[in-house]
Symmetry: C2
């Protein structure tokens, strides 16, 4: 390391009141305007937090140990930092910021850590959950644009737990995907499949995040729901879920995912409907929903407009959008 090549600025005698601007100066020489903006706000919030709370060294060390334990419990199939983000509402917030939904379109919600990329592509009408303990459910949906036009050939990813509240990947002996599939919408925007009635379940709570929830008097439960993800070129990717009305955890979801517009009341398959859906008997539980997608362009325009407004509220009147993300424009 050749000191003559050092490009940072003279730093000495840093105090409670001048350290933030100095750390920001040191971090401002990297070439990415977006990274500079992210770091500058990060340092400011981190320092303001310590100054406002008068954070003690004991509390700081407890936080260091908590973060270390959180990292150390992570594996290929367990992501404790995502859980941490979920229980602080950050995951839902970032989804809301990144995928703003214009009026009339279906709202998004948290992805969660249990989506996989190995779900089978199934035909409409197929059985996607083979748990004999689950109550059978027929799911009949449509996917349309905001004007009511059907959207054909949308890839619809669906996933749910088994009747014990566990996703397939949570079972050590998993040899093939179950309780998940990918379908395609037909010319009328319809897709339908046979699953099981979702149940409520706890998020993994035997690690640092579970201990924190306990300390806060919070439970780890999520209300019963089924995950849906919609993808088609030109359309804004929609990550969402449907929640069952009347679930005891409907109003206390540990990860803050429930939205009124995503709560559904299950119906029952009648005789006429049973005749139209092969293999489905009268009296089977029925979930029906009409999803509405927006185009990538509609979403990007809304996101850019929201960005410029949000930075404006920070006093940054001149904002540039770089790769879809805002940076303050320097003169």
């Amino acid at each position: 390391m050749d000191p003559s090549k050092v490009t940072t600025l003279p730093l000495k005698d840093l105090t409670i009141s001048n350290i933030t601007e100095n750390v920001n100066l040191v971090n401002s020489t990297n070439p990415s305007p977006r990274l500079r903006f992210l770091l500058s706000r990060l340092t400011t919030h981190l320092h303001d937090y310590a100054r406002e709370t008068r954070l003690s060294q004991g509390e700081w060390l407890e936080a260091i140990n908590f973060l270390t334990a959180t990292g150390q419990i992570c594996t290929d199939v367990r992501q404790e930092f995502i859980l941490l983000s979920d229980i602080f509402g950050l995951s839902l917030l970032v989804d809301s910021i990144d995928h703003p939904k214009p009026a009339g379109s279906t709202e998004g919600t948290v992805l969660g850590p249990f989506h996989t990329h190995d779900a089978e592509e199934l035909e409409n009408g197929a059985i996607m959950a083979h748990d004999e303990g689950g109550e059978k459910l027929l799911v009949v949906c449509t996917v349309k644009d905001v004007y009511g036009n059907p959207i054909e050939d949308v890839a619809v990813d669906v996933w749910e737990t088994d009747s014990t509240g566990h996703y397939d990947v949570q079972h050590p002996g998993r040899d093939r995907p179950d309780g998940r599939c990918v379908l395609k919408s037909d010319a009328e925007g319809r897709f339908w499949f046979r699953g099981i009635v979702p149940v409520s379940y706890p998020i993994p709570h035997d690690g640092p995040v579970g201990k924190l929830l306990l300390r806060l008097g919070r439970h780890p439960m999520r209300p019963s729901h089924m995950h849906f993800m919609f993808e088609k070129a030109g359309w804004d990717k929609l990550v969402t879920a449907l929640y069952l009305r009347g679930d005891p955890y409907e109003t206390t979801d540990a990860v803050f995912g429930v939205k009124q517009s995503l709560i559904v009341e299950l119906g029952t398959v009648d005789k006429e409907m049973a005749a139209r859906y092969p293999g489905v008997v009268e009296g089977t539980k029925l979930l029906q929903y009409d999803f509405v997608l927006v185009t990538e362009q509609q979403s990007a325009e809304l996101r850019d407009r929201n960005s410029i407004e949000a930075l404006g509220r920070l006093g940054m009147e001149k904002v540039k959008i770089v790769d879809g993300l805002p940076v303050p424009e320097l003169d």
Copy 2:
């Protein structure tokens, strides 16, 4: 989990603008007023950060992966989260908040991750660094109160690297402590020992924190320094360090620890002094410094006053100090 025992509040339809108050409500039922205050400010800053930067899901995931890698490289002898705190200036800031120093007393600085609890107690005059490659150094100091009265029997912890810039614990074959010791000040507040001239060195930079520094165009170097820690019942613990004047990294310390008042110019032992310090030859390098401690009460009073002022600036006029830490007082 019995839903009837759920004590959290109804949460649904959380949006960019209402999620923060709702997460704060859910986290407000735990019994500790200090924990409630810490969590409420944490959630607010975390959410404000995402809202102000319009944090994207890609960036969020990159942060999740960075934190995971930071946790996973930690071991019994490596604490990457402390390094992360150091390079963002947070460690220095927390020290400054927790140990405010009244005018006339010696300033503190970062502890760093290399203090141990197994240093030998040595007599004044002893050799505490046995590295033959190091340049010999006589260190002669005093420790006094702000009125100039000597303080006897202060436990003085001292630690420094060897001549290659490594602390003893960084060598895999370490069988006993070296480059560190604990001394006691005498009746005149004096303590003295024989070490080696400190050298500059890089903080561990082969992990996530090192990669981040590289990406930011920052070097990992610390200027040459020697650590000191002072402890005696009734006196505020002082964690500090002395820095050598003229070090090439004096103004670009990777962890922001240098303070003007802690920079020293090395002298040389003259004939008269060599005669007074057994085993020390004329021409040996000399470090002299007079440390000034404050009482625990002086420090606590200043810390409480600073806390009340800082929370007042947040609009919290009624503040209670609980176990030495502030919480807003609720009516």
